[in-house]
Amino acid sequence: MAALKPLLDAECGTTNPLIKLSQFYTRDNTLVTQDGLIKPATNNFTNANLTGGSNATIDELVNEYHRPIAAPNTFHLEGLLTGLRLADDTIDNTNKHEYEWTTQFLDSLTNDFSSFSTNTKTNNNFSSSMIHPLSNQQIQTSQNIINDFNIQQQQSQWMPWNEQTYIPSTSTFPLNSNSTFLDQQSSTVDTGFDNDTVKAAQNIFALLQETQFAADSEFKDFVENVAGGIGEQSTVDAKKQEATGETKDVTVDKWINEFSNDLSNESEWQHDWAADAANLSSLDDQIPRSQSWLRHLMDNDDSYSEYKFSKTNVFLDHSNPFEEGLKRLQAHDIVNAVLLFEAAVQKQPNHVEAWLYLGITQSENEQDGPAICALKKCVELDPKNLQAYITLASCYANEMLTNEALDSLRKWLANNDKYSHLLSNRRSQTTTNEPRLIDELVFEELQELFLQAVSLSTNPNDIDSDLQVCLGVLFHLPGDYDKAAECFNTAVLAKPDDALLWNKLGAALANGGQSEKAVDAYYHALTLSPGFVRARYNLGISCFNLSAYKQAVEHFLTALKQQSDGIGPQGTHVQMSENIWRTLAIAIGHLQRPDLEQSVGKKDLSKLLHEFKIE
């Protein structure tokens, strides 16, 4: 692996074609302004590109990846990359993760490359990633080279996970066509860079011969092909042209579906990928699997189809439960608010707002199941209800139902007058009605769209906190908690009095391991809304993670008490969260009090409250 070092070192003065290669990488072509111009790509994915400085945190986010900005003097990837892309003479549909790759690449280039050579783990990643080029990339081969080196990068947590999940486009399929990009790209390219790509590939190939990677034939083939000239690529293109047939997008979509199902069903991923479009025909066999995916999706739906109301609800006879519910919500009496909203919808099953608030409040009450039911009813009645979609996305994310979460986010975007045009630009050919079966591809696409949406805002003070929340939830799905926290932080800056936002921030921080900061965020939330059961539950979890078991137990018990207090005078009660009981049980387990474990098993709340002196 040391052999590859010369190729990667950032030496001034050397004409390292790979460096040129990296230039293109930094150009993030997803940054299209409102008038369709690609923002002048500065060296890196900087603030200027993002928005008129929409938010400091996105800047931070970006800067995080651009710390070693000094180094890139010799790295001007953008030029080469653009050239490569355009050299293919087809539409390049940039991917969102392209910018991450660039940033990762820049980072990696400035890192200690000896690690690259000695890192044995990279063996596997190297070969697999070779076979898994980024989707949407026209320049398959050269991108692969870049991708691989990106993998070596140690710092990114998110990337390696996602990179392996990207649906490889084995041939250069234009999965989405974006006319704006096309217009821009055709004007700025100098196709002379082709040769550099080839030379780069040749270099790499030569180096590879000397290394252990010689064993990986597929990668070698790739490089050989590129080294042999663009000829191979045009063959690929030709095949692609044939393959896509009449309606490019229909076949593309089918292909996407098949591939994604393939992904989720195969254990040995590497065997599935051969870098030529010839595989396409075999993929037709995969279609049946997409049906089972659909069925799986439907099954999930069923569990949330009917809302289960509380057995006894003292507010059923209330004259105006909805209004009263809103008042209670204002007073942070979440539990009673739930009961009131339930009464409201039972009185008036078509009351959109009542269903909406029922959903939101149940979610605050740490009851995502009923929340999802209620919100689904809400969007049934009002398919354009943005708040419902955003809350649904969070709930689905909590329940680890990634596809559904992505679907909700997409619907939010589609129904949002401010941003729906982005969607139509992007997906004008494909039908948006079919259920989304894939998660990886949709995820990347959504990410791109949301970031575009963010870049639409030109005023630094004009932060669309809902948009930030969507972005945060989106990042949270694959476990990119740091980025999610950044987004929620931005949202909170815009709306510092929104307890829900503080809770989301706390959750993202906590899941990312930053328990102390999470605790701080939760306290903000609880100060604003003392009856916020979910925030208290989360606080308990963070205490648990910090090994403060007794405190954790106390928080859980307080939360349970609040839930059980949601009682009418007769003692009827809102169902308490199973989640909280469960986590309480585990926390008590750590306290070495077998006597208490019994109480937990019996759900003897009063005894436990007494034991821990919580009144």
């Binding site: 890192n119 044995t120 596997n124 390696p160 996970w161 996602n162 959750a507 993202a508 986590t583």
Partner: protein, 133 residues
């Protein structure tokens, strides 16, 4: 298909006879899963852990997210693993206790993944309680 079929889920003897901390960790996970029947199903996929010690795979555990079971050994007949994760015993303990997270281990090269990585992401719910958005 599985050559080293170890004992069934309930026993704790390992076919290789090596003491693995992972075993205790899996017991904890099982305990957590017992309290929440849908927890394992939420993972949704069949994930196999190959626990190594001193560089060699000592034992495997299968998390069958489709059936909702966790057991020691390779997947049973008729079940194919969609993700296979190879990790050292000590690192697995860190992972399952929440001290380390998978992407970090992956980046350090301590965790190898074969298969659909995004499915593996859902494992975090088994190891520790997630904070809710």
């Amino acid at each position: 298909m599985t050559k080293e079929k170890s004992s069934t889920a309930t026993t704790t003897t390992s076919s290789s006879g090596v003491e693995l901390k992972a075993r205790t960790a899996f017991n904890e996970i099982n305990k957590r899963a017992k309290g929440q029947p849908d927890l394992v199903k939420k993972v949704g996929a069949v994930i196999v852990f190959d626990i190594t010690k001193d560089g060699n795979v000592q034992q495997s555990w299968t998390i069958d997210g489709k059936k909702g079971t966790i057991y020691e050994g390779k997947p049973l007949e008729g079940t194919t693993a969609q993700v296979t994760i190879t990790v050292d015993d000590n690192d697995f303990v860190d992972l399952s206790s929440g001290k380390a997270n998978a992407p970090a281990l992956f980046a350090k090269g301590k965790l190898k993944v074969k298969g659909n990585v995004m499915l593996a992401q859902k494992l975090s719910t088994l190891f520790k309680d997630q904070a809710k958005l």
